[in-house]
Symmetry: C2
Subunit: 124 residues, 2 copies
């Protein structure tokens, strides 16, 4: 798989909420950085963070645009989480690096934290 | 020039604060969208917004990563503005589309607005 295809497969695994499959695409010491919140290190930390997916029963992360050069992939997405009270949405750009071993070593998401909080609040 | 080269040249023109040169790389009806703030339409609106560059005397937008596929280019940057009281910095990802005419038709920046405001405040 190319880095581009790896990132696409990773997003699709997250959308299926298939954490085993998704985690297999991450390097053991992956950096996962939600820019306005902060970075964490390691597959286990990522898994712990994503496992609950904020209590979503369904996850839908449509990618509007994706670009790849060398081992760098970036995608522009709307991350959507189905909560009890409705769909929570947040516009995101993800920056990924894929190692020569085919594993994602960097996943950094840029988004506006206040937009996320306001959209969460609006759902009640 | 490839779309990738066009976006690089555009950022470099902004760093020189050469607005004439920068504006020539934009489509007449360009969309310029600062995601947490909102979008504007047209080269004139962009020029008006950028002309002051927030009172900066120097601008430095180092690109850490850039990826391009087809007419889509994305770059991960730190946008730095030299103000009287010091350097104001904000981490940004830009999403660009370049038309067949070689002009930038979309420029959409993702960043955390509160980080920007806090960094501005910290400079006094």
């Amino acid at each position: 798989m190319t880095p581009d295809e790896t990132v696409t497969a990773f997003i699709q695994a997250l959308e299926r909420m298939d954490m085993d499959d998704a985690m297999e695409m991450l390097a053991e010491d992956v950096t996962y950085d939600n820019v306005p919140i902060g970075a964490m290190q390691g597959r286990d930390a990522v898994r712990k963070t994503l496992d609950g997916m904020m209590g979503a029963t369904e996850v839908d992360w449509p990618v509007a645009r994706q670009a790849a050069t060398g081992n760098v992939v970036m995608n522009e997405r709307i991350d959507r989480f189905k909560l009890e009270s409705g769909w929570l949405e947040i516009p995101v750009v993800g920056v990924f690096e894929v190692g020569d071993d085919g594993l994602i070593s960097l996943w950094r998401d840029y988004f506006d934290l206040e937009t996320f909080k306001n959209n969460r609040k609006a759902l009640g």
